[in-house]
């Protein structure tokens, strides 16, 4: 038994190290149990990543000649949209509105493949259809801040890139906007390949892949989009983990009164319960929290009538089950589901939810707070004077909407989960998730 005891002690010691390290008295707003966060070591960019950087900022690959990856994923806006509207305009004359709000490109370097149920990479033979089949009969654990580990095993969609998870790798993601006629509108693989062959950085392809690379358009563009993804993996500003909250976790920053109250409300399953999905705990491997469990939810954000597509009353953007994503369209239990985004740097955004229907965090907080207790504050009123609940999802899919995870388990007339002060405090806390905080020496 001796050996086992030693092993146990070592394991427990590593987990409890933070407790032993704590000072006996702490200052107000200080983390009483500081931890060490593991960040990717900063190294010079590889040749591949430097090539990717050139492509990321290259406007010549768009039909307008004016749009690059960086146009919508602006480095000055946490790699999110720089404009005020719900979507960005692209296409040949930069006059075509995009279909969805531009997601941030930060904190995607750890994103797992899209799967239904937990990612199981050692199992070599499971298809999406098989996974979905399991999900139709599996129980689902209610998502609260205190049982994130249990709900992570729910057989629901998780992982992947884009709002609907249709790409698994940053490489696949990069080719989406490049070819989308409403975005960069690159035309075709052959057109893009021809531009790459004559780009100022063309020789960099040869040094990495040999001269043969220019003969194969598909491969040339695949290498280009991989290089863009590699730039995102290596360039520290895509995942710097330098928020005030990160430093607070490490005992290098103190939260103000409002921020601290907001942090508690964020984690309080009787109140906001944000952490039920926007996981705030470091991983077991010591990696900083991502503020998303990467799962998909149907929250039923109100329809955004300012979008071009919604002029058609029969158009519904249903996320995982289409219309942009095609491969799981028959899994109608996922209709209306969109990916839970990270909340890191969310406070610098001006377009929230997949359709950009909200412009401020205040509106977002009101949505969570009043959707079920006072829907008239969230949705437009119909001719009957009643709130048009879930008005961006067809009635036949309303059962998919989350009414079990707090605060969405309330009913009309019940007290909202949060007061105005609570909402303000949570917003104060969200601002501590912006990168670029300078800790006190």
């Amino acid at each position: 038994m001796l050996l086992r005891t030693i092993v146990w002690f070592l394991g427990a010691g590593l987990m409890a190290g933070a407790v032993f390290a704590a000072e006996p008295q702490t200052l107000p707003g200080e983390n009483p149990n500081p931890i060490h966060l593991i960040r990717r070591p900063v190294e010079p960019l590889s040749a591949m990543a430097r090539l990717g950087r050139d492509i990321f900022f290259d406007t010549s690959l768009s039909s307008s000649g004016k749009m690059a990856c960086a146009s919508c994923h602006s480095p000055d806006h946490a790699y999110g949209p720089p404009n005020d509207g719900p979507v960005v305009f692209g296409g040949p004359a930069l006059a075509d509105p995009g279909a969805r709000a531009v997601p941030s490109l930060t904190y995607l370097e750890r994103q797992p493949d899209f799967s239904i149920g937990p990612d199981d990479r050692e199992n070599e033979t499971v298809t999406l259809a098989q996974m979905a089949e399991v999900g139709q009969t599996a129980d689902r654990v209610q998502k609260t801040a205190t049982q994130a580990a249990q709900s992570a095993a729910n057989i629901v969609p998780q992982g992947g890139l884009f709002w609907d998870g249709r790409a698994d790798t940053l490489q696949m993601q990069a080719s989406g906007p490049l070819l989308d006629p409403r975005e960069m509108d690159g035309g075709s693989i052959e057109i893009i390949a021809e531009k790459l062959r004559h780009a100022p950085y063309a020789r960099k392809f040869a040094t990495l892949f040999g001269e043969n690379i220019f003969k194969n358009a598909n491969l040339l563009v695949a290498e280009a989009t991989f290089a863009v993804g590699r730039y995102q993996v290596e360039e520290p500003s895509f995942h710097s983990y330098t928020s005030k909250f990160d430093y607070w976790l490490e005992g290098k920053a103190r939260l103000g009164d409002s921020e601290m109250r907001g942090y508690r409300l964020f984690n309080d399953q009787e109140k906001a319960n944000c952490a039920g999905c926007h996981s705030a705990q470091p991983t077991r491997d010591g990696l900083p929290p991502l503020f998303t469990d990467t799962q998909y939810e149907a929250l039923a954000a109100p329809r955004n009538l300012t979008l071009a597509d919604t002029k058609d009353p029969n158009y519904f953007d249903l996320g995982v089950c289409g219309p942009i994503r095609k491969d799981v369209a028959d899994q109608t239990q996922f209709c209306g589901m969109f990916k839970t985004p990270t909340l890191r740097n969310t406070a610098v955004r001006r377009a929230f939810f997949h359709n950009g229907v909200f412009q401020t965090l205040q509106q977002v907080m009101d949505f969570y707070n009043f959707r079920d207790t006072n829907p008239e504050k969230v949705y437009p009123l119909g001719v009957d004077g009643k709130a048009q609940k879930y008005n961006d999802i067809p009635v036949k899919y309303h059962a998919n909407v989350d009414v079990s995870d707090p605060p969405f388990n309330r009913h009309p007339g019940e007290t909202p989960a949060m007061t105005a002060q609570d909402e303000a405090d949570i917003i104060a806390f969200l601002k501590t998730l912006n990168d670029g905080y300078k800790p006190e020496e």
Partner: protein
């Protein structure tokens, strides 16, 4: 020798009891003093004192996952050397008669896989960069691999095996990716080992197909004689003689960590049985096997996991890779721990008559502990923790390199290195493209599974299928299958040598039998009797090769020690 006889008898009668004994043992128990005193004279068999045919007293087999020969050595010894990557410059005397892409340049410029049947995936082979170490996983089941080899034309890889999982946000994947190869800027350590020791360009899996068949052929030389528990499923096919052959992956029956719905066990003999009968110390050492260990990330049991450089956390132990778990005689289904470090490698706890519950199956950490304490088994089979086993999708060549180099650096520092040989071999090719084809020497004609030379045909019609465990020709063992890397690292390895002798996974048990067992064979249709020998990679007359310490992260040469002159 009285005791040896006794132990042998004991083993055959207790083998069935081991499971029950193991189940009751929860933690390590220190051997009782009484037994130690009683049997002080029954000193453990010491590997260095065993009579061997060759001057090899310790064989270490590092059995990795899912890489083809061209995928790792396609342009060997020429690397592209982009700025900022680990540099590789070949030695002047590097052999150039290697059967790879470089020696037939047409393969690089007008490859048969440009075949229009491959559709958008039709492509020439292309370099995978070091930043692309994390790739998608390719298809590597028994039938699709046969279709890709297309009767020896090797021209349908993108169509038949060029698909798989994505591998996470940072992974590289493209149509035609199956044609990708790494060079000395990524698999730097392997190229450096090849420069200083010996490798084969003619090493094959015994059969087409994935991990479990490969592991079984390395350990038993056969995949016939499969038994599926009632009510469960397995990737077996009828062998045409009333039995079953395993052709794809399935977890071992009864392993604590196995799938609850699909399991299989095997009834053939394996090399462990022969070693046990001769009382030769041996062990299987797998990352993640000790279910009591708690990793730094607080995971434990079957869910113990680690994080690699290129991919996220992945489970350390994968049951369908555990060759020994498929056989009643060598299984340790509960993952019982050895009684003590000195018991590692032994059937009975040395100095006692007590059967050790681990039954020759241990964690990888037990290997370094035992060897470091001077208890270096004669034969050690190693499986690195999954994140380092090289399998695309959850592992990658860079994590593999770290695991392999760390282990080989460690072994070269041991007193017994003088009499050690390390083999790095692979369970399958993952379906990665390879241009070479070996004429089918053991055909299979299963109407449901075989496809190399047309539906239901693998091999030349009219030739006889290989014998199964009962001596009759059986389906499902078609091969040689796919070509994989095979490297020998030893003071006795020929230096910077590439062997062209055709060998397979079953050449590993064959070498063990030749060295320790006077050439005894497994029988029951095992390929150990018919495959080629690996001895061409050795010069047993002199310990010629110097020690070579590599950087575990970059695979570059750290120090090279002068070869000992002992001729």
């Amino acid at each position: 020798m009285r005791n040896q006889k006794l132990k042998t008898t004991l083993l055959s009668t207790v083998a069935l009891l081991v499971v029950a004994v193991a189940a009751t043992l929860i933690g390590p128990v220190i051997a009782g003093q009484d037994n130690d005193e009683i049997a002080e004279k029954e000193a453990a068999v010491h590997p260095n004192k065993l009579k061997t045919k060759y001057p090899i007293k310790h064989l270490v087999v590092i059995f990795n996952e899912n890489r083809s020969f061209d995928h790792y050595f396609g342009t060997y010894p020429n690397a592209l050397n982009p700025e900022g990557e680990p540099l590789f410059e070949p030695a002047k005397n590097t052999p150039r008669d290697i059967n790879n892409l470089l020696s037939s340049p047409a393969l690089l410029d007008s490859n048969p896989n440009l075949n229009a049947a491959n559709g958008a995936g039709a492509t020439n082979p292309f370099r995978l960069d070091r930043t692309q170490a994390n790739t998608a996983d390719q298809g590597h089941a028994y039938t699709p691999e046969q279709k890709a080899y297309d009767g020896g034309k090797n021209d349908l890889f993108p169509l038949d095996t060029g698909k798989g999982t994505s591998g996470g946000a940072g992974a590289f994947g493209t149509t035609g990716q199956v044609m990708g190869y790494f060079d000395g800027n990524t698999v730097t350590a392997f190229w450096n080992y090849a420069q200083n020791f010996a490798m084969s360009d003619n090493a094959w899996t015994d059969d087409f197909g994935p991990s479990t068949p490969g592991a079984l052929n390395m350990f038993a030389g056969t995949t016939n004689g499969a038994v599926v528990p009632a009510g469960l499923t397995a990737n077996t096919i009828p062998d045409g003689q009333g039995g079953l052959t395993l052709i794809n992956d399935t977890d071992p029956t009864g392993d604590t960590c196995s799938s609850q719905t699909a399991q299989v066990s095997m009834t053939s003999k394996n090399i462990g049985d022969l070693l046990n009968a001769a009382d030769i110390p041996w062990g299987s050492f797998m990352g993640g096997f000790n279910l009591q260990t708690i990793n730094n990330n607080s995971t434990t049991g079957c869910a113990r996991s680690s994080v690699g450089q290129a991919v996220g956390a992945t489970a350390d132990y994968i049951p369908h890779h555990a060759w020994f778990q498929y056989f009643t005689s060598t299984a340790n289904l509960t993952h019982a721990r050895p009684t003590s470090t000195k018991a590692i490698g032994y059937t009975s706890v040395p100095g006692t008559k007590n059967v050790d519950p681990a039954n020759h199956a241990y964690d990888l950490e037990d290997f370094t502990t035992a060897v470091g304490a001077g208890n270096f088994p004669a034969v050690s089979f190693i499986k690195l923790p999954a994140f380092q086993d090289a399998h695309p999708g959850y592992s990658d060549p860079l994590d593999e390199q770290t695991g392999v180099v760390t282990l080989i650096n460690f072994l070269q520092q041991q007193r017994d290195w003088d009499s050690t040989a390390v083999i790095i071999a692979y369970d399958d090719s993952d379906g990665w493209a390879d241009h070479a084809f070996s004429p089918t020497t053991h055909p299979s004609f299963s109407t449901t599974a075989d496809a190399l030379n047309g539906a239901g045909i693998c091999g030349v019609v009219g030739t006889t299928e290989p014998a199964g465990v009962n001596g009759m020709p059986v389906h499902g063992r078609c091969g040689p299958g796919t070509r994989t890397p095979f490297v020998v690292i030893s003071p006795y390895a020929k230096k910077n040598y590439v062997s062209h002798v055709l060998i397979t996974q079953a050449s590993i048990p064959q070498f063990i039998e030749d060295n320790w067992l006077k050439g005894e064979r497994l029988g029951g249709g095992s390929f150990d009797a018919t495959t080629g020998s690996i001895v061409d990679m050795f010069n047993f007359k002199r310990a010629d090769s110097a020690e070579l310490f590599l950087d575990p992260t970059f695979g570059t040469v750290e120090t090279r020690k002068q070869a000992k002159k002992n001729d």
